[in-house]
């Protein structure tokens, strides 16, 4: 590269978290959107912020990107405070935003070629086009792209500068299933290349598919962080034993369904009608996590 090589950073960047947030608070017009949110994203992982609309996901991402001021809390992104970090820091992060490129009348290739001027380390346009599956649309004007194609252009722009950390805010909203699958592969490729990915989504399957860890946001806080398979482990321990008795349904929620069954079967003279034992699926757990908070109780 050129002569502007920097001295090695004082802290080893491989070990410090990519994102460290403590007690993040933000209100709009007196209405709190974020209320003491804590978050840690490790280097190299794909972390999904999952939550319903209005939970504060986008506001969180915008604070981390350094485009929105926070009211309270400590925030470090790649070791710097986004509120005061400069251009050198911005060069290390990538943002996939909802907004369009540089103009409706510009072609996809022209848009990428233009934005290549803003970074010292642009990935070649042809490589980006291939990575997001827009090679065939390279000559198409941005104004004529479909919603899904626009999103893919946004992704190409977000990773153009070869960032260490990429923010994806609801990246697949408005995509058809095929485009979504293709996009997921794109995120997996990014992560495989060592890029840290922080994405927001309100699709459970997307979080389960892509993320190493999922953080559930509700009521302006992070109410749970776990690997997708372990999300809501406590809630999932509770099984529901259900059967018919005296013409109606009986239901017992328990962490020890075997004991309940043993008693039930011992007391029954013959077959227990309609007997079932169920555990909540990922979606049930998620709805419980989110629903509990919306009623004012974080658990």
């Amino acid at each position: 590269m050129t002569s502007t090589q920097l001295a090695p950073p004082a802290t080893p960047t491989g070990t410090a978290p990519a994102v460290a947030v403590r007690g993040l608070g933000k209100s709009y017009g007196g209405r709190p959107v974020l209320d003491g949110l804590d978050l840690e994203v490790r280097r190299g992982e794909c972390f999904a912020l999952l939550g319903p609309n209005g939970a504060g996901k986008t506001t969180t991402i915008e604070v981390l990107e350094g485009v929105r001021r926070r009211d309270a809390g400590e925030v470090l992104v790649l070791g710097e405070d986004p509120a005061v970090a400069g251009r050198d820091w911005r060069a290390r992060i990538g943002v996939v935003s909802q907004g369009e490129g540089a103009g409706q009348e510009l072609s996809v290739r022209e848009t990428l070629d233009h934005f290549a001027h803003y970074t010292a380390t642009p990935r070649p346009t042809a490589e980006l086009l291939a990575a997001v599956g827009l090679t065939e649309q390279a000559g198409t004007r941005v104004g004529r792209l479909s919603g899904g194609q626009r999103r893919r252009l946004a992704v190409a722009l977000g990773v153009q500068g070869d960032p260490e950390l990429v923010f994806l805010d609801e990246p697949t909203t408005g995509m058809d299933p095929a485009a979504r699958r293709q996009f997921w592969q794109l995120v997996r490729d990014l992560r495989a290349g060592g890029t840290t990915v922080l994405l927001t989504t309100h699709y459970l399957d997307e979080a389960a598919e892509l993320a190493d860890r999922v953080g559930v946001v509700a009521g302006g806080r992070l109410v749970e962080v776990a690997a997708p398979a372990e999300l809501g482990a406590e809630l999932r321990r509770v099984a529901t034993v259900r059967w018919r008795e005296d013409g109606g349904w009986r239901e017992v929620r328990t962490e020890t369904p075997s004991l309940v069954l043993r008693d039930l079967l011992a007391a029954a003279p013959h077959e227990v009608p309609g007997l079932s034992v169920t555990r909540p699926g990922l979606e049930d757990v998620y709805l419980q996590l989110v629903g509990a908070t919306q009623q004012g109780d974080p658990r």
Binding site: R43, V95, G99, A120
Partner: protein
Amino acid sequence: MTAVLTDRPAPPSTARIALARTALELRLFGRERQQVVFAFAYPVVMMVIFASVLGDEERPGDIPFAQYFLAGIAATGIMLISFQAVGTAIATEREAGQLERLQVLGTPPAAYFAGKAGLVLVSVAAQLALLLPVARYGFDVPMPVDLAHWLTFGWVAALGALAGTVLGVAVSALPGSASSTTTAVSAFAIVLQFFSGVFFGFLELPGWMQQLSALLPLKWLTQGMRSAFLPEQAGAFEVAGGWEHGRTALVLVAWVIIGTVICVRTFRWRRAEG
């Protein structure tokens, strides 16, 4: 997990991005036909209409109407391309989310403004290159008589375009939607033309109108243009009995400074927080 090294080359300079922005603005300008037609056609169409209808009239000092009007409509064209076009373009780009992308890329605002200024300079030059021959060969309007008058024409046009550009950036920070900004800026620009002596002789305007417009740049831009296109003795029919080049430069520079201060204090990449 591999440690990602952070020793990157420094981001491109403001000047390099400004150059890329200028190239982009020119390319987009060429593709947005409405804008091209509006910016280039308006002064020429006005010149043709007014000079054809009122061609026989004369302004004080035996100045043919077309000659007087060319100065005013040239000044108006500069104002439209700088103030009006820049103000509405920035409001529109902000609403479309294009400026958010520039913000997250860490684009220096100066590079963005420079791109706008670059577009204004090129399109002002192109517009004048179209208007002046129409006036010269269509309506026998004499061109500036010597190099000194051409130089006057040059600095007045450049200062006027610069003031218009920074004030366009400043006005784009007005709250409200892009379409409400467009309406407000257009209405203001139309009224200002009448106040500043573009269509009527400035001396024919009521005193309060003269005093009000003397606080704003267009009156001085128009007067400066007259000093380039009209014969020397016509200066006697100005408010001060002369061309007032010093004061013209002073007012325009003052507006450049005021506009720049407003830009620095109010410019934002995003719509106001909800």
